[in-house]
């Protein structure tokens, strides 16, 4: 069985970057959404489903995106899978909030 993209233990890698990163409001909101969605009382989906969604991201996204950028894509995938929202609704919402100029 091939190694999953997330299965990093034992692979060679460079030095650990020890710098501390600031949390952003984006990070906080994505973290909070995930926690609310996986909360057993809400029952929308489990942490394991969340992990599966993150671990099935394409390799370039898995390594190219920030931590919470991966999470927000996993939330999208599961919200669609579970029928909490539809593709159409998401498209319409994205179009509605899209900045009018592509690069602001």
């Amino acid at each position: 069985m091939p190694r999953g993209v997330h299965d990093l233990g034992g692979l060679p890698a460079g030095p650990v970057d020890l710098s501390e990163h600031d949390r952003t409001f984006f990070d906080q909101r994505v973290d909070a959404m995930m926690r609310l969605l996986t909360h057993p009382q809400n029952g929308h989906y489990t942490v394991d489903a969340m992990r599966r969604a993150i671990e099935s991201l394409p390799r370039d996204d898995y390594f190219g995106l920030g931590y919470y950028e991966r999470w927000v894509r996993a939330i999208r995938q599961l919200a669609l899978e579970k029928g909490l929202i539809s593709e159409d609704e998401l498209e319409r919402k994205l179009a509605a909030i899209q900045p009018s100029e592509p690069n602001k």
Binding site: V16, Q28, V30, D31, A32, G66, Y68, R76, L84
Partner: protein
């Protein structure tokens, strides 16, 4: 929402912008949040309360647990036996919904250091949000094969006769390290000990520093 907070002098306050984030990530977050609120999946105030709860969990909680274990051998025994119950009773927090939590004790012969090779599992209930390096591919890859080399990058050198045990966390079981009590702390109060305990020592990448004379 209190966006002006990033102008505070608190170095731990969140910031508005992250470097290198893709613009579509920002849009996607906003779109999902607004849609899920419209669909009554959660409310805006639930998000705010969740953020506040997450922010209330920080390494000082873990430090209080460590200091109590150092001064009270019976508490330490309970902590090593059933960490969740011992932590709930000391801190008065509810760990009912958090994954299983195991505290591993460092001794002069045995040094534990925790990681999560598969993702970012971390004892958030007592240490808060994991540092960026804990989630990095480099830490996740290398700690399990060359722990002493990784520890050296944190400035930690252990004697050759100390066994290093790497503990790999899972989504269901989290670990926290009970670090060794440093020398020259015999006369310190429990509150002073709390202030001495660092986040990194409870991950196991560093030792608790001896107090400055």
């Amino acid at each position: 929402m209190a966006h002006e907070h990033h102008h505070d002098h608190d170095p731990h306050a969140p910031v508005n912008e992250a470097h290198g984030m893709r613009p579509d990530s920002v849009l996607l977050e906003r779109a999902l949040r607004e849609l899920l609120i419209e669909k009554n999946v959660f409310t805006a105030s639930e998000i705010q309360r969740q953020i506040e709860l997450t922010e209330s969990r920080n390494p000082e909680l873990g430090a209080r647990v460590v200091a109590r274990a150092w001064v009270d051998p019976r508490y330490k025994a309970r902590l090593l036996e059933d960490a969740k119950a011992a932590i709930e009773s000391l801190l008065g927090i509810d760990l009912n919904l958090t994954p299983d939590l195991i505290v591993v004790e460092n001794t002069p012969q045995l040094h534990h250091v925790i990681c999560c090779t598969l993702c970012s599992c971390y004892p958030r209930a007592v240490l808060g949000i994991p540092p960026a390096w804990y989630k990095s591919p480099e830490y996740r890859s290398r700690l399990v094969i060359e722990p002493r080399a990784v520890l050296a990058e944190f400035g930690t050198a252990l004697a050759d006769d100390v066994e290093v045990r790497v503990v790999d966390s899972t989504a269901d079981t989290r670990y926290m390290v009970l670090p060794r009590r440093p020398r020259h702390t015999e006369r310190m109060s429990e509150a002073e000990l709390v202030a001495l305990v660092t986040r990194d020592s409870m991950i196991g990448v560093t030792l608790v520093p001896e107090p400055q004379p």
